[in-house]
Symmetry: C2
Subunit: 338 residues, 2 copies
């Protein structure tokens, strides 16, 4: 029987803090009775939230005090060196000590990556951990990495991302051999920058289900399961997509608010518009995985609300149940032994 | 008095050819009486389209025969060397010879760039021409470059893109000192890849209205007028945005087509949905500029319909009226003289 997932939550991370993270914990406890949560941070603030939400500490809901907070704009190296009792650090320590099976934080991405790497270490065969996220596509969802942990990635890094992404997608989606594509600016062999040209032979010679170059629009059309790219490119792609989505949302709102008639039409169309809104709700896809570490760390968007943050906790639970780091490790072992 | 714009149209380029390009020419002639068009390509096919559209050749509508066609997947170097009588080449030759003031093509991007560079030459001080496009944003529109002509751009290239983009935006939008941003993965100084870190000092020391790093979502929120990036990054960003837009469109259609009730609601909401659709219609923004050449060449999307292609012709006319290459040249002269 698999052990119960125990998730350490950095309560202080993100733009809001305990008001969001504790409410997200409450959501999870209501949804699942096979999960334990450790809420890490300023005890007083967390307990005040528990009272507000009419929750009591229990075997399934533990509060762990941590006296410091990593600021959202703090230099990662400084946070790592100076704030040894931060909620982020203590949550990750709990994972390292075996007292939790995964950590979730909405805090400073750079500090989270630096701390996780320092405390949990990277897997043998991985140079740099990378950030993977899940995005909706026309037929289901796409996994994409790296989203910004690594810039100027070399061919070897891209290859490692591909292995990690493929193994993780396979585990969490229960699919064999997910389709892996390398993000490029055309599907012809002659296209691309030095990075992708150097990475392509490694992917072609691998045992991954590598389907070749894919383009930006393929991320959203369902033709590929795992999209691999450098962190600079991935971050720009993701943020551009978010920008378009926001603009579309605003334009729809503006058109329905144009005059009294369009407002009435908007009222009539509300159920359909809400169904659409729910479908493209980015909060559902919150929770990015820091892959390549020996243990599980999930990064939530800093601006997440309690529903979005609970989705990041869900990702952590799923990765615990699927033993993602162990899956990656055994795959890397096979590759390194070759 | 400025001279009448004479636009050379590569009739054979694009996924469709004369059926689209000649129909687009007809649209332009109807809209404007101060423009002349030279339609270049297989005479028989073009004339058949003219008959179909009930158009006759005139001083304002000239057909120029060219016996060859550059295929959409043809290697640019090969097209340049072997197809000296292609519709694309002849259209660009007309510009070089002073018989046309700009060329428009929906053909093979690589071949168009190679041919334009060979025939028209680049401006002094420009290493590589770049592709600039216009995108909608929440408040108006954003110019963005490079969109894929140059990968692995160095700092000097990015700086040249910024100068060309700023001058062009200023000319076509009639604004002084448009806001120029460098696309990055965060606004903090420490963020970025080697490319942007090296380019930033050049921009800070320039007389451009450089507003610093911008992120992918800023392309669409109206906070910047000209977004500068490497062609690999720009192309991925643009295609990712297109992918999201298509997915949103499909989801909206699916939700309104879900059942008889949602279909009725969709019928009622049609005027509002159409207003929205018109607003985000990518065809309106068709027509990318090949900047850095001594004369004007505009690239249309290969899949453009006649409305979209007519918009690319509009871009050509505007750049002729604003003497864009001359504006860039005089600005570069001032920079080089420093």
């Amino acid at each position: 029987m698999p052990e119960t997932p125990i998730i350490a939550i950095d309560a202080m991370g993100g733009d809001v803090g305990p008001e969001v993270t504790v409410a997200a914990a409450a959501r999870i406890l209501k949804q699942r009775n096979d999960v334990k949560l450790i809420i890490v941070g300023l005890e007083d603030e967390i307990k005040a939230e528990l009272i507000r939400l009419k929750l009591t500490e229990s075997e399934r809901l533990i509060v762990k005090h941590a006296s410091e907070i990593v600021a959202m704009d703090e230099a990662p190296a400084l946070a790592l060196r100076k704030k040894k009792d931060s909620s982020m650090r203590v949550a990750i320590n709990l994972v390292q000590e075996g007292l939790a099976s995964a950590a979730v934080s909405a805090g400073n991405t750079g500090a989270l990556m630096a701390t996780a790497k320092f405390v949990l270490k990277t897997l043998d065969g991985i140079d740099r951990p990378a950030i993977m996220t899940t995005l909706p596509n026309m037929l289901g969802h796409t996994h994409m990495m790296d989203l910004g942990a690594n810039v100027d990635s070399g061919a070897e890094n891209l290859f490692q991302f591909a292995v990690m992404g493929s193994v993780t997608a396979s585990a969490v989606d229960n699919v064999d051999n997910p389709r892996v594509g390398l993000l490029n600016i055309g599907s012809e062999a002659m296209k691309g920058n030095a990075q992708v040209k150097a990475a392509e032979p490694l992917l072609l010679n691998s045992n991954l289900n590598y389907i070749g170059f894919v383009e930006g629009d393929d991320i959203f059309n369902g033709s590929v399961d795992v999209v691999i790219c450098d962190g600079f490119v991935g971050n720009v792609s993701l943020k551009s997509s978010e920008g378009v989505a926001k603009m579309f949302g605003q334009f729809i709102r503006e058109e329905f608010n144009r005059n009294i008639l369009t407002k009435i039409i908007g009222f009539i169309a509300l159920p359909v518009l809400n169904a659409f809104k729910k479908r493209v709700d980015h909060r559902r896809y919150n929770g990015a995985s820091l892959l390549g570490l020996k243990q599980i760390v999930i990064k939530s968007h800093g601006g997440a609300d309690d529903y979005a943050f609970s989705r990041a906790i869900d990702v952590a639970i799923l990765e615990v149940e699927k033993s993602v780091p162990q899956c990656i490790e055994s795959h890397l072992g096979a590759l390194l032994a070759k």
